[in-house]
């Protein structure tokens, strides 16, 4: 949903996010909603600047979010307050699941299919009865087997088995009722620490403000993703919104607040190791991806929009390899690198330390401050052959070799570190042209307004000239392994004497053009799988639809009386659609659910979808369209006219996810890997599939360990940006939060004899840091089972460089990962605390 659409919400739940502090501009629209009478709720371990502006504040213990959200799901189901017309037709609530399925309610915390030895699940028993459902494309995982593909083809043989009366014991509705039966308000209070009364007030606010005439939104950020159960927290929110009919409608949805100006762009055209641009899967060496044909067959979803996957894959290869890509050589498929496992940041840190990775580019990233287990990161950097740091100031990551912890504590001497460090000055946003893609997929162009100082260059300049030099170096090579580099198209024009490549050319290629004429394509629906089109990222198609038309430059807002979708303002992928799944803003017959929440509707006279937005649905597909199952329909032919979720194989929102998730089809409360208590809900303590890299320098704390009795949560402040380089080195922002600190409740401070601004030492098995104590009532202890559980809050921006300095919080954190994303768990850890300072050389 667009951020500005939050102003249309009747209730907004902010959870897993400190929105006012970290997304102040987006919070503008929350305030507008408030002005119009919306109820705003904040659930968080700390009372923050966001909490101060809310109508209801719910204190929840860090890492207990699924217990809280599961409680809301139970409330909705048991009180029968779900939006039936919506959920019955638009979600898989009526779908019947395999009879072998068993849930954590029966298996004390595990799902059926658990493989104790491999610490993983097999997914057969999670499938729809009699049919195997693939997840949307990029969520395929190596655990899928060859036969999986043959099974998914059965999706074309008929609709998934459903019981619209919801009486079947294995329909999703009945499974969910059993699954969440234990998530009572009393249990929510026990597990999360949030008073049952407050919790029930929130349930009432959410359900009262959802339905045909009203909508609600949920905003989250890294407060959910940074957990070993992060994906399932977001899933729980998705279930609530699907049950309440809050997806695809004005003021309804889930807003994933992004932490940087273009972090959405960096997943669309990814810096992620396992995806190609546009959420296409990266070929995998251990999957049946030997040939392009195998790759397509394996990864293509037979039904739904993703059936178009081959068009996007061929067009991408054409864009990258130009004329060298031919049908005979599989469009150059063999030149794509194949992954062999998890190459994300946490295992990469281990791989650096172990000498597997020998060189590293850091572009606008400062992992010594920003990555988990900073000591291990520094050991990793010290074990490289070369390191290139591109930033606008000298960062901690560029100075580890003479100022780092291991140098200071005598573990290593600078002259013994072999890493050759290159510090390259980088331009800032205003010093280069290009686009940002923001939280709601809006691609906005910005011009270069001033040249960067000295030798600073843009990322584009750096990568462009690096590529040109590499291509020149390998031009004469006849070794097969050099083919990918030799065949890479690289013909961007250069704008000025400095050789700055044209960002315009790059965006044109991303949009796509015909081959070989290079005529811009207007939309991704123009892309072909026969090599006649080239496209750098299919979902961005339409951003540059004609030679002289860069839609991302457009700045035409709707006037005061306009519909407020602002279709003339920049470009939102795909096809300039502002709200995804907006078919769901109309009822199954195609009529708006209500006048107040009108967005799209079926115009029977003209035979197409009309409305304030671009339809996220085939424009002329009538609401009464039914797939002709006798013809074994493929792709969109298998999606009915009342199935809005076109990217899902059955066109319905997945309340229950049959495949694509490694830790279960339904969100379940597990304690964080490092938790102060035992799991009050199941015998299984933590997420059984969580990734743990237990090495000598990454030891993990046992649950309830008396050595580390306090809960620790790390976070950001408004005044600083992530690793701190852009703000700690600028005086006007540095002075606002000039020094590291830990937030400690008065109760804990009294127990330990700590006064405001005293020096304190925080300890985990990974390391210890010293910082100043900031006493506050905004952090409160939780009571559990007659025990007091204290929480400590620690901002993680600080390091030894710049004007605002402090010890590195990530010295304390660990390599622990969500099984689906490998995202770390720095929002919920345990630690110890004492008054005092560390000695020299810490």
């Amino acid at each position: 949903m667009p951020q500005w659409d939050l102003a249309n919400s009747d209730v907004i739940l902010v959870m897993g996010s400190n929105m006012a502090e970290n997304h102040p501009i987006a919070f503008r629209f929350v305030m507008q909603a408030k002005e119009r009478g919306a109820t705003v709720i904040h659930a968080d371990p700390r009372f923050t600047r966001t909490s101060a502006l809310c109508d209801i504040y719910a204190p929840v213990r860090a890492g207990s979010d699924i217990a809280f959200l599961g409680g809301i799901i139970r409330y909705i189901l048991e009180k029968d307050l779900w939006f039936k017309e919506y959920a019955l037709h638009y979600t898989n609530i009526a779908t019947i699941i395999d009879e072998r399925y068993q849930g954590p309610d029966e298996l004390d915390g595990l799902f059926s299919g658990w493989d104790e030895e491999g610490k993983r699940y097999t997914y057969e028993s999670w499938q729809y009865e009699g049919m195997t459902v693939p997840s949307s494309l990029a969520e395929h995982y190596i655990d899928t087997t060859e036969s999986f593909n043959d099974e998914t083809k059965r999706l074309s043989e008929g609709p998934p088995p459903q019981d619209m009366t919801l009486q079947h014991p294995n329909c999703v509705y009945q499974i969910m009722r059993r699954h969440y039966a234990g998530y009572t308000p009393e249990m929510v209070e026990k597990v999360t620490g949030c008073p049952a009364e407050t919790f029930l007030k929130i349930c009432e606010a959410l359900t009262k403000n959802s339905g045909p005439d009203r909508t609600g939104a949920i905003c989250y950020a890294v407060g959910w993703t940074h957990h070993s159960t992060g994906v399932q927290m977001i899933r729980a929110a998705a279930i609530i919104q699907a049950l309440l009919g809050n997806v695809g409608r004005p003021g309804g949805g889930i807003l994933a607040l992004r932490g940087h100006t273009s972090i959405q762009g960096s997943t669309d055209i990814p810096t992620l190791y396992d995806m190609l641009p546009g959420y296409l899967p990266q070929p995998h060496a251990f999957k049946p991806h030997e040939t392009f044909k195998d790759f397509l067959e394996m990864e293509q979803t037979p039904t739904g929009w993703w059936a178009n996957f081959p068009k996007y894959a061929v067009s991408l290869l054409r864009a990258w390899y130009g004329d060298a890509a031919t049908p005979e050589n599989d469009w150059g498929f063999d030149w794509l690198p194949k992954i062999i496992g998890d190459h994300s940041q946490l295992p990469m840190t281990v791989a650096m330390r172990d000498g597997v990775i020998r060189g590293l580019f850091l572009m606008g990233q400062n992992p010594v401050v920003g990555s988990s287990n900073s000591h291990m990161v520094q050991r990793g950097l010290a074990n490289l052959e070369w390191l290139v740091v591109r930033d606008f100031a000298e960062t901690e990551s560029a100075t580890f070799w003479y100022q780092g912890h291991q140098v200071r504590n005598g573990e290593v001497r600078p002259e013994d570190i072999k890493t050759e460090v290159f510090l390259m000055p980088a331009s800032l946003a205003g010093e280069k042209a290009g686009t940002f893609t923001n939280t709601h997929r809006l691609i906005q162009w910005h011009d270069r307004v001033v040249d960067g100082p000295g030798d600073s260059r843009s990322e584009l300049w750096f990568v462009h000239h690096l590529a040109k030099r590499l291509k020149a170096l390998y031009a004469e090579s006849d070794r097969p392994q050099d083919e990918p580099l030799k065949n890479l198209t690289w013909d961007y024009s250069e704008d000025d004497v400095m050789g700055e490549p044209s960002a315009d050319d790059v965006l044109k290629e991303i949009n796509g053009y015909t081959w070989p004429e290079r005529k811009q394509v207007g939309d991704y629906q123009d892309l072909k799988d026969d090599g006649s089109t080239a496209c750098g990222c299919w979902i961005y198609s339409g951003v540059y639809p004609a030679e002289a038309h860069n839609q991302s430059r457009s700045r035409c807002p709707d006037g005061p009386d306009g519909p407020g979708t602002h279709l003339g303002w920049a470009f939102a992928w795909p096809s300039n659609r502002r709200t995804l799944v907006n078919r769901a803003s109309a009822d199954p017959d195609g009529k708006p659910w209500s006048e107040r929440k009108k967005l799209m509707w079926w115009n029977a006279e003209k035979g197409h979808w009309d409305g304030h937005d671009k339809p996220d649905f085939p424009r002329t597909k009538s609401p009464d369209f039914k797939p002709d199952w006798d013809s074994q329909p493929q792709g969109m032919d298998a999606i009915g006219g009342a199935d809005p979720y076109i990217m899902i194989a059955d066109g319905k929102a997945s309340l229950f996810v049959p495949s694509g998730l490694k830790d279960g089809p339904l969100p379940t409360h597990y304690e964080p890997v490092e938790a102060p208590i035992r799991n009050p809900m199941y015998k299984v303590q933590g997420n059984p599939t969580a990734k743990r890299w237990e090495h000598w320098d990454n030891p993990l704390h046992d649950p309830g360990s008396p050595d580390y009795p306090y809960a620790l949560t790390t976070y950001r402040l408004t005044e600083h940006h992530s690793g701190g380089t852009p703000t700690r080195s600028v005086p006007t922002t540095a002075e606002l939060q000039p020094e590291g600190f830990a937030e400690i409740s008065y109760e804990l401070a009294e127990e330990l004899g700590i006064k405001n601004l005293d020096w304190v030492v925080l300890t985990t098995a990974r390391g210890e840091i010293e910082t100043r104590a900031l006493l506050t009532h905004r952090l409160r202890p939780f009571h559990y089972d007659g025990r007091i559980i204290h929480q400590i809050g620690l901002p993680w921006h600080f390091g030894w460089k710049g004007y605002a300095t402090g010890d590195i919080a990530n010295v304390l954190t660990a390599l622990i990962g969500d099984p689906n994303t490998s995202m770390h768990e720095n929002k919920a850890l345990t630690c110890n605390l004492r008054r005092g300072r560390l000695g020299k050389g810490h």
Binding site: C54, T732, N756
Partner: protein, 298 residues
């Protein structure tokens, strides 16, 4: 405020130059000499992001002046000064809080600024004319005229003006005099994401603020009141009205504002009379003292 129709006149990300009368697009106010401009700072909308502080320092090229952890909640700026013309203060009231009310609750945040008083004591105290009233009815110091006497400093009842350690002259908020001349709203107001700081014509702002207070009362925020609007706390002691005024929900002292500020000039007449009376008394006494021996001598 919705989108201004004139916004559609600029359909591209590239602008040929400054948009004429830009403030009309951003805040709905056209800036014209001879009218009275100011700020309405509504604390119930403030999220404490400090964008105003940063925008102010960036636009006015002010240096950082305080690089230390204060231990006072998230307020490390501490006060307005020669180099800090916007200051966001934080007051934690979580302890003992009984509930939440609509808009800002239990953690007060307020962006303080020069009040640009209708009867400005600093201006009245300035012997050189360095402090003057502009064509926008704001109060500005001209550092090229200021002789650094410092009379303005104690005369300000709000502690706004300060002599700079760098040049020894008085410095304070100019309500972005240069921006107003260029048709731009002040930097702090423009950067405020939640419109807690509103820039506009003072009479309009007073009217809007009055409605806002009524609306807040209706929604249960019965503590809301204006500080510095005519006939409210802050507009006391002969100051009459503050061109930069505030909506508060707790006593002024909680926000470090004087509950009943006064204009030192008010004390001028009684002071002068008292002084004259004293002089007269002394003269009489002297006359008595010096005349008596003469009489004796005589």
């Amino acid at each position: 405020m919705g989108v201004h129709p004139r916004a559609q006149d600029y359909p591209e990300s590239f602008l040929p130059g400054v948009i004429p009368d830009e403030s009309e697009l951003t805040v709905g106010t056209k800036i014209e000499p001879g009218k009275r401009y100011g700020f309405f700072t509504d604390t119930t909308l403030c999220i404490g992001c400090k964008a105003c502080e940063v925008a102010c320092k960036e636009w006015n090229s002010l240096p950082a002046d305080n690089m230390g952890l204060s231990g006072m909640s998230y307020d490390n700026t501490v006060k307005l000064s020669a180099d800090t013309w916007r200051h966001v203060m934080f007051v934690e009231k979580v302890d003992g809080a009984t509930g939440m009310q609509p808009f800002q609750s239990n953690w007060l945040m307020m962006s303080d600024v020069c009040k640009h008083c209708k009867n400005a004591p600093c201006l009245e105290a300035c012997p050189t004319g360095a402090l003057f009233r502009t064509e926008f009815d704001t109060v500005v110091v001209q550092q090229d005229i200021c002789n650094g006497c410092g009379y303005c400093v104690p005369s300000c009842p709000f502690g706004v003006v300060e002599l700079s350690m760098a040049d020894g002259k008085a410095h304070k908020c100019t309500l972005c005099y240069d921006r107003l001349k260029g048709g731009l709203e002040p930097a702090c107001a423009k950067s405020c994401p939640t419109d807690s700081i509103l820039f506009g014509e003072v009479d309009d702002l007073v009217e809007r603020a009055g409605k806002r207070v009524e609306e807040l009362h209706e929604r249960g925020v019965t503590d809301a009141y204006l500080y510095g609007a005519p006939n409210t706390p802050g507009a006391t002691g002969g100051l009459e009205q503050l061109n930069a005024f505030f909506l508060l929900t707790d006593r002024p002292e909680v926000y470090n504002l004087p509950p009943a500020p006064t204009r030192p000039a008010n004390r001028l007449a009684p002071g002068l009379l008292a002084g004259m009376a004293a002089m007269a008394g002394l003269t009489l006494a002297a006359a008595a003292i010096f005349s008596a021996p003469g009489e004796k001598r005589r």
